[in-house]
């Protein structure tokens, strides 16, 4: 009988590690892949340098009139000069601090809630939901000694963020209620939810906004005038909550029946089972879908343009008509696109972080 000698550990073959190994595995694994890699490489080399030249190297940053733009690249002076309007719309300049304070406070509250290990989270959450909206309303609109700024003066990024934040604030809880209603065994809540969801999902948002601003006033009594912004907000919130409901219903359906049975068997009530057992798991599985809906909502706010609200995109577009600055629409669109991208990409990254954080081992 021979004695067993353990096989020594060998280094992995050089073709499977390092840059060459990586490139071989990911870029040149088959003839088609190699062609695609080379094609992509060609496009990058061909188009990236001109873009960089235009946007950064040859771009004009200094000055305050169009005469400053001589270098042939992008004219960021246009954006620079118009920046406060892009941010605040026609909000009075001496009141900008109110907007900055309101968003700054919201930023602090959200960071407090999102960052791990901050104390008193439940108090902060309650404050954010119950008290902050009142503070924000007073700051944005006025009252308590602050001069009133009518909503038709609101605009730019500020308006976009207000629309998106309030839309998300309502769409998630409404969506949850609608999803639970649709899965309920009680016929009336179920019928109402189904009708509501299918109705709103069946019409384009643009129609909803149009109806809210043009048709609704026709049916309303003369003296009851609801602010245009409020009507748009109601439209966006209800529209997105119908989508949210379907995303959440997917999560509820994916949950094994054993979970609610175990909760029932332990004596938890319907609502306890929902909030403690079912929803935390269902929402976790549909984080990508929820964030996707949020991102869609964020971008859909640009549609308020058609009812004459001046969100970021429409205010950028209206600036193109300024006779002093004709011909800089590309810069304007690139800037607006970049702002939207930063917000949407941040949401997307946060959702990925959240998924990793909430992962608690293998599912059975």
């Amino acid at each position: 009988m021979s004695v067993h000698t353990p096989h020594p550990d060998l280094p992995p073959p050089s073709t499977s590690v390092g840059i060459i190994g990586w490139a071989r595995k990911n870029l040149f694994s088959s003839p088609l892949n190699s062609v695609l890699t080379l094609g992509a490489l060609y496009l990058v080399v061909r188009f990236l340098p001109p873009v960089i030249n235009w946007a950064i190297l040859d771009a004009n940053w200094a000055g305050s009139t169009r005469d400053a733009c001589t270098d042939g690249g992008a004219c960021w002076v246009f954006v620079k000069v118009r920046l406060t309007q892009f941010m605040f719309g026609f909000y009075p300049a001496d009141q900008y601090w109110r907007v900055i304070l309101a968003f700054g406070l919201l930023g602090v509250l959200i960071a407090w809630l999102l960052i791990e290990k901050t104390p008193k989270k439940s108090w902060v959450a309650a404050f954010t939901i119950l008290v902050y909206p009142i503070i924000a309303f007073v700051l944005f609109y006025g009252g308590l000694g602050l001069p009133v700024v009518e909503t038709n003066k609101w605009g730019g990024l500020m308006l976009t963020l207000i629309l998106a934040t309030i839309g998300m604030f309502f769409a998630l809880p409404f969506g949850i209620i609608l999803a639970l209603g649709r899965r309920s065994s009680m016929p009336i809540p179920r019928a109402l939810s189904v009708v509501f969801i299918e109705l709103w999902r069946g019409v384009p948002l643009i129609t909803v906004l149009f109806m809210s601003s043009v048709m609704l006033p026709l049916f309303m009594p003369e003296d009851l005038r609801i602010d245009k912004l409020v009507r748009a907000l109601v439209g966006i919130s209800l529209f997105q909550s119908a989508y949210m409901a379907e995303v959440i219903r997917g999560g509820l359906q994916a949950l094994p029946k054993g979970q609610s049975e175990a909760a029932d068997a332990l004596g938890l009530s319907y609502w306890q089972a929902m909030f403690l057992v079912i929803l935390p798991q269902a929402l976790k599985t549909v984080i990508p879908g929820i964030v996707n809906t949020f991102i869609e909502l964020f971008k859909d706010t640009t549609l308020v343009l058609i009812i004459g609200l001046m969100d970021l995109l429409s205010i950028v577009q209206s600036a193109f008509a300024d006779p002093k600055w004709l011909g800089f629409s590309v810069e304007g669109y690139v800037f607006a696109g970049l702002v939207y991208w930063i917000f949407c990409f941040s949401m997307s990254r946060y959702s990925q972080h959240l998924e990793r954080k909430l992962h608690t081992g293998h599912k059975r």
Binding site: E261, L266, L268, T360, H362, K363
Partner: protein
């Protein structure tokens, strides 16, 4: 609460469970036919029978996970009917262990055990955690308290599930094939816990094919086939001297 509601159906006798002429249908399908079953306090009952004969349905009717359509079920003197108050009381009184464990994967072992005591029994967290630790020690996994269910083996998960039920301090425990989803080497650790529980005098109803376990702990074995209770007897007689042909056939297949 009125007197009539809490009056035991058979006054005088100390019955934990009383089922009288109970029937259940799934649509047109008659799953349970005229079930009559009395379980005394501290009695240990094993239910067996071929697959699909209605064993799970029977024990799930006892805590209203399934709704029976005819007949009566009384648990500790409370009738199980549409009254939500009754259902609530009965569910507090009965613990249930499932074949698939059904632990809550988003909560740690400790949180799984404390959830119902805190929210249903309104216990202070500290007290709930002490109770939970006590039962986790009894099922021999106190060191896993801070892990998530997904990080435990099947046998460990099932023992957590048993501890979770015990934290509600139930008078009756229902087990639906608690070891069927487990690898052979893990079955014993779960059965050991169940034997301990039986020796301490817990009223138990257990659906299982573990005949060794049945012989050690059962006071009575119930054999079901196509929705009916065919035969019930003490384990000794049940295994050595089955009465009906169907029981004989079943035993010859599994033993």
């Amino acid at each position: 609460m009125t007197q009539a509601m809490t009056q035991p159906a058979t006054a005088g006798e100390d019955l934990a469970i009383e089922v009288k002429g109970m029937h259940k249908w799934y649509g047109d399908f008659h799953v349970l036919k005229d079930i009559n079953l009395n379980v005394k306090r501290r009695e240990r009952i094993i239910i067996c029978g071929p697959s699909g004969c209605g064993k799970s349905t029977l024990i799930r009717c006892l805590n209203r996970l399934e709704v029976h359509q005819r007949g009566e079920i009384w648990i500790d003197g409370i009738e199980l009917n549409d009254d939500l108050k009754h259902i609530e009381k009965i569910r507090r009184d009965i613990g249930m262990v499932f074949q698939q464990f059904n632990l809550f994967p988003h909560l740690t072992v400790m949180e799984n055990c404390c959830l119902a005591p805190i929210w249903v029994l309104k216990k202070p967290r500290r007290e709930a955690e002490e109770t939970a630790m006590h039962y986790l020690e009894r099922v021999k996994i106190p060191d896993q308290a801070d892990k998530y269910p997904g990080q435990l083996s099947g046998g460990q998960q099932q023992r957590v599930a048993i501890a979770r039920s015990l934290c509600m301090n139930p008078n009756i425990m229902l087990f639906d094939e608690p070891t069927s989803a487990l690898d052979p080497e893990m079955i014993k650790e779960v059965l050991d816990v169940m034997v301990d529980l039986a020796n301490e005098g817990m009223t138990m109803l257990c659906v299982t094919h573990e005949m060794g376990f049945a012989k050690t702990v059962a006071d009575r074995v119930i054999f079901m086939d196509s929705g009916e209770i065919i035969e019930e007897n003490d384990p000794e007689s049940f295994f050595s001297n089955p009465q009906s042909d169907r029981t004989k056939l079943f035993l010859s297949q599994i033993l």
